[in-house]
C-alpha cells in the first residue's frame, strides 16, 4: 500500500488537475477590479509557483531520505480531517464555480475563496499526518522551504522567458512546414507576414500557440519526473540526452502534424482537419515520444544502468491483461477522434480494439470469475438512478438534442450498424475493460504491489475510495456520479469476491443508459 505522502500527492494532485483543466483565468471578466483583478492576472502564476515550490520541497527532501520522519511512511489516515478536507473542498468548489462562472466578483467572496484553498491544502496535509509531524519535517529540512520557494519562483520566471522564443520558434516551424509541403504540393500558397501556408483549397496559420512550445513544456515535466524517479536505473549524465532528443522529436512531429493538417484539409476533409485531427494529433505525438523515451531508457546500454530485458527470459507483464483492454479503447478513441469532424463514425474502432486485446489475453483470465447474479443487476439499476439524478441536479433544464444530424441523415442500415456497435461497446466491451482496469487491477494494486495475490474479497477504505475517485474523474462532468458508481461496483465485487458481479452491474447501468439516451434523445449523456 502506498505511503502517506503518496496518498496526499494523489489526493491533492488529482484535485489540482481537475481544477486546472476545468477553470481558466481567461474566464474571469477582462475589466475586473480589486481581488478579482489580482486573481485574473496573478492567480495562474501563484498556482504554478505554489505547485512548483511543493514539488521542489517534497522532491528534494525525499532525495535526502534521512530528513523524512518515519511517520511519513505509515499507512493510517485520519478520517476526521478527511471529512474536513471534503467539506472545505465542497465550499471551495462552490465558490470556484461562482467566481469563474461570473456569478460573483466581490472582494469578500474572492478572499473567502483564497482562504478555502488554503484550508483544502492544510486539511489534506493533516489527513495524512498531524501538525507535529509536519513541523518536525520542516525542522529537519532547515531552510529547504526557502530554497524551494525561491527555486520555484526562478523556474517560473525562466519558463516565462520562453515567450521570447515564440517568434523564432514559430518562424522555424513555418519554414519546416513550408519545406515539407513543397515536396508534395505543386502550387503552394505562402504568406510569410501572416505565417499562412497551404494550398488553394486549404491554408493554415502557424500561430505561436501551434509552434510546438506547449508540447515541449509538457515533455520537460514528464522527462524531468521520469529521470528523477527512476534515476537508479539510469546512467548520468548520459540519460540527460533523452530530454533534448525528445524535445527535438516532438518539435519535428508538430511540424509534421501541421503539414498533415493542411493536406487533410486540401483533400476535402476540412472539418476533420480543423476539429478532430487538430485536437488529437498533438497528443498522439506526445504519447509516442514519451513511450519511446521509456523504452529507450531501458534498452539502450549507453543510457540504462540495468541490463536490458532478455527476450527469452523476459518476465511477463502482470498488469497487461487487466489494463490493455481499457487502454486499447482509449487509444482507439483518440485515433477515431483524430478522424472525426462532428460525429464519431468510427466508434466501432473502440469495440474492435477491446475485442482484440481481450482475445490476446484470453488465457490469462483463468483466475477471473465472470459470473454475476441478481444483486449485481440491482446494483446496476441503482447506479443508473444515481446517474440520472446527478445529471438532473447539474443540468436542471436539459436539452434533448436527439440523434446527431449526420447519423439521422444516413441510411437505415448505417444507422442500425452504428447503433449496434455503440450499444455493444457500451454494454459489453466498456464494462469488461473498465472493471478489469479499475477493480481487477486498480483496487487490488492499491493494496499490494503483487496485486494478483490479493484476494477478490480483500479491500481497504483507501483502495476502494481512491480507485473509485480515479474511475469517477474519468467520467468528466458527471464525476460525482462516477465516484458513486465506482464505490457501488467495487462493493458488489467484494461482496461475492468475483469480478463478474461488478461487470454485470456496470453492464446493467450502461444498458439502461442506452435505452434512456435512445428514448429521450439525451445524446449528450453518451
Amino acid at each position: 500500500m502506498p505511503g502517506r505522502l503518496t496518498i496526499l500527492a494523489l489526493l491533492l494532485g488529482s484535485e489540482v488537475l481537475i481544477a486546472s483543466l476545468a477553470f481558466d483565468g481567461e474566464q474571469l471578466p477582462y475589466g475586473s477590479h480589486g481581488l478579482l483583478w489580482v486573481l485574473r492576472n496573478w492567480g495562474a502564476w501563484a498556482h504554478r509557483w505554489a505547485l512548483g515550490a511543493a514539488v521542489l520541497f517534497a522532491g528534494f527532501a525525499f532525495l535526502k531520505k534521512q530528513t523524512v520522519p518515519a511517520a511519513f511512511f505509515g499507512r493510517f489516515i485520519r478520517p476526521g480531517w478527511l471529512l474536513a478536507h471534503a467539506a472545505s473542498l465542497a465550499v471551495f468548489g462552490s465558490l470556484t464555480i461562482a467566481i469563474y462562472g461570473g456569478r460573483s466578483s466581490s472582494n469578500l467572496i474572492v478572499a473567502t475563496w483564497a482562504v478555502c484553498s488554503l484550508a483544502v491544502a492544510v486539511t489534506a496535509g493533516y489527513t495524512v499526518l498531524p501538525p507535529t509531524a509536519w513541523r518536525e519535517w520542516l525542522r529537519r529540512t532547515g531552510s529547504l522551504w526557502l530554497l524551494a520557494a525561491t527555486g520555484s519562483g526562478l523556474a517560473c520566471w525562466l519558463g516565462s522567458l520562453v515567450r521570447l522564443l515564440w517568434e523564432p520558434v514559430t518562424a522555424t516551424t513555418f519554414a519546416i512546414v513550408k519545406f515539407l509541403l513543397s515536396l508534395v504540393v505543386e502550387q503552394l500558397i505562402v504568406q510569410p507576414q501572416a505565417m499562412r501556408v497551404g494550398t488553394a483549397n486549404f491554408t493554415a496559420v502557424v500561430s505561436p500557440e501551434c509552434s510546438g512550445i506547449e508540447g515541449i513544456g509538457l515533455f520537460l515535466i514528464f522527462g524531468a519526473l521520469w529521470l528523477l524517479l527512476f534515476r537508479d536505473e539510469l546512467r548520468f549524465p548520459h540519460a540527460l540526452a533523452l530530454l533534448p532528443v525528445g524535445i527535438l522529436a516532438l518539435y519535428l512531429l508538430n511540424a509534421l502534424r501541421i503539414t498533415a493538417l493542411v493536406l487533410i484539409g486540401d483533400a476535402g476533409w476540412k472539418d476533420i482537419a480543423v476539429r478532430g485531427f487538430h485536437s488529437q494529433a498533438g497528443w498522439i505525438s506526445f504519447n509516442c515520444v514519451a513511450f519511446a523515451l521509456l523504452l529507450g531508457a531501458r534498452r539502450i546500454a549507453w543510457i540504462s544502468a540495468v541490463a536490458p530485458p532478455d527476450r527469452e527470459a523476459a518476465g511477463e507483464y502482470p498488469a497487461a491483461p487487466y489494463l490493455l483492454p481499457f487502454l486499447a479503447i482509449l487509444a482507439a478513441g483518440i485515433l477515431s477522434g483524430a478522424m472525426t469532424a462532428h460525429f464519431e463514425w468510427l466508434y466501432s474502432l473502440r469495440l474492435i480494439a477491446a475485442a482484440v486485446a481481450l482475445w490476446m489475453f484470453r488465457h490469462r483470465y483463468r483466475g477471473v470469475d465472470w459470473k454475476f447474479g441478481w444483486p449485481a443487476v440491482m446494483a446496476g439499476v441503482v447506479v443508473f438512478a444515481v446517474w440520472i439524478a446527478v445529471d438532473r441536479l447539474m443540468t436542471p433544464a436539459p436539452i434533448a438534442t436527439g440523434m446527431p444530424l449526420e447519423l439521422a441523415q444516413s441510411s437505415a442500415a448505417l444507422q442500425m450498424a452504428w447503433l449496434a456497435a455503440r450499444v455493444a461497446g457500451a454494454v459489453v466491451a466498456v464494462p469488461i475493460a473498465e472493471e478489469l482496469a479499475f477493480r481487477g487491477f486498480g483496487l487490488r494494486r492499491l493494496i499490494a504491489a503483487d496485486f494478483e495475490a490479493v484476494s477478490w474479497h480483500t479491500y481497504t477504505v483507501v483502495a476502494l475510495g481512491a480507485s473509485s475517485i480515479l474511475f469517477g474523474v474519468l467520467h468528466g462532468g458527471l464525476w460525482v456520479a462516477g465516484i458513486v458508481a465506482g464505490l457501488i461496483y467495487g462493493l458488489v465485487m467484494l461482496r461475492r469476491g468475483r469480478l463478474g458481479e461488478s461487470i454485470g452491474a456496470h453492464a446493467t447501468t450502461n444498458a439502461l443508459l442506452a435505452v434512456y439516451v435512445l428514448t429521450t434523445g439525451r445524446w449528450d449523456l453518451w
Binding site: 514539488v55 506547449e214 520537460l220 529521470l227 485536437s279 507483464y317 487502454l327
Partner: protein
Amino acid sequence: MKTILGFALLMTGVAGQVVAGIPTPEIGASTAAGALTLLSGGIMVLRSRRK
C-alpha cells in the same frame, strides 16, 4: 553532484509546467485527460514487469 542534478531536474519540471501553461484553445480537457490516462496506463503496464 547528484544533489545538484536532482534539484536541476526538479526545476526543469517546474519550468516546464510554466511553458506548458500557454493556452492552446484546441486542446480541451477531455482530450488531455484521455491522452494522459493512456500514457499513465502504459507506464503502469511497463513498470509491472516481473523481475
